[in-house]
């Protein structure tokens, strides 16, 4: 379901569903912004195109979710993307993690794509028709993102001594942010009870199985590192998000109402 379709249909999300959609939209928006940095900087031309494609897929998902989220309060996708402050963003900390080297970006992609695949697969049977429709379209794309990150994990792990060292380190740096993705809070619990949302903790098993299989094949360990504090769903973020938003929002704030 495209943002234009949601806006044209005049659908109005219930307040709690809107808050939930905001989380989904923010996760994808922040990761898309991160991936955009790679354009012209990726290790090879082909990978430049691949990361750009993935970023655009995610931006598409973000636009649909944010349009739907804004429908409850009469705000547009642009209002939500460009005119909210850091404390109003609902993304999990994983998505705002720095790109680092190519390996670190791939480790973040592995976690993100395997999580989103489980999430959208489950949300396809949401009792909320808009969430179900957006998820049905998004799931095919994140399935490809899964494949892309898994292929690169295998190659970096089986590449040179240096690439193996780096991907191992990248996974260790990424893993503290896995736990937050599967935390149940009041909103998730109450929406899961109505069938509109899916309980985050219910996605953990599928995620562990999928990611575990990739790491096993690559001969890598699931990192045993302590979890980071999290709090992204409540608007508490790491130092990374402020800088990212400053860059992402500067044009819209310098030239309010500009269109291009």
């Amino acid at each position: 379901m495209r943002p234009e379709d949601i806006a044209a249909a005049g659908i109005k999300a219930p307040a709690d569903v809107a808050e939930y959609a905001l989380r989904l939209g923010d996760d994808s928006l922040i990761l898309a912004q991160r991936l955009g940095w790679w354009i012209s900087r990726a290790p090879e031309l082909e990978e430049d195109v691949a990361l750009g494609n993935i970023g655009l897929d995610l931006l598409g998902h973000a636009r649909s979710f944010l349009t739907y989220a804004g429908s409850a309060s009469g705000r547009t996708e642009d209002d939500l993307a460009y005119w909210r402050r850091e404390g109003e963003f609902r993304s999990a900390h994983l998505f705002e993690q720095p790109n680092g080297d190519f390996g670190r970006t791939i480790a973040r992609q592995l976690v993100a794509s395997f999580y989103l695949y489980e999430l959208y697969t489950a949300l396809m049977s949401s009792t909320d028709p808009t969430l179900a429709a957006i998820s049905a379209k998004a799931v095919k794309e994140v399935d490809y993102h899964r494949d892309h990150s898994a292929q690169w994990i295998l190659r970096l792990a089986g590449g040179t001594e240096e690439s193996r060292r780096r991907i191992t380190r990248a996974l260790e740096l990424t893993w503290p942010y896995v736990g937050e993705l599967f935390e149940d809070d009041d909103l998730a619990v109450s929406l899961a009870a109505t069938g509109a949302a899916v309980l985050p903790s219910a996605l953990r098993e599928g995620f562990d199985a999928g990611v575990g299989a990739v790491l096993r094949e690559a001969g890598l360990e699931v990192p045993a590192v302590p979890a980071a504090p999290g709090g992204g769903r409540r608007g508490k973020h790491s130092e990374n998000l402020g800088y990212l938003l400053a860059e992402m929002q500067v044009l819209a704030r310098e030239h309010p109402g500009a269109s291009w």
């Binding site: 090879e44 031309l45 082909e46 195109v49 691949a50 494609n53 494949d147 892309h148 292929q151 190659r155």
Partner: protein
């Protein structure tokens, strides 16, 4: 471009096409990645339903310098074509 990323030639068969057509080339570390890169580079607008990738090193090309004798025109060699010959009398189908 490093030797770790050899060149691959990409052939795409479009959804309404009968045969694979050379679409271009790309670099990839191995065949699996080449297919995926080809999907990103050459099928983003639903052009294709089937992809072939071939290591460029596996393709033997005709020598462009020998064009003269190699691709000499069949013009003026009517006797090479069946239509040149007349049927014997009494032959209905040939």
């Amino acid at each position: 471009m490093s030797s770790a990323w050899p060149l691959w030639e990409v052939f795409v068969r479009s959804s309404r096409g009968l045969s694979h057509v050379h679409a271009g080339s790309l670099h990839a570390p191995d065949a699996d990645m080449a297919v995926r890169n080809a999907r990103d580079l050459y099928t983003r607008r639903n052009e294709g339903v089937s992809l072939w990738v071939v290591p460029a090193s596996a393709i033997i090309a005709s020598d462009p310098d020998s064009k003269g004798q190699f691709f000499e025109s069949p013009q003026g060699k009517d006797y090479r074509h069946a239509t040149y010959y007349t049927k014997s009398e009494g032959v209905k189908h040939l």
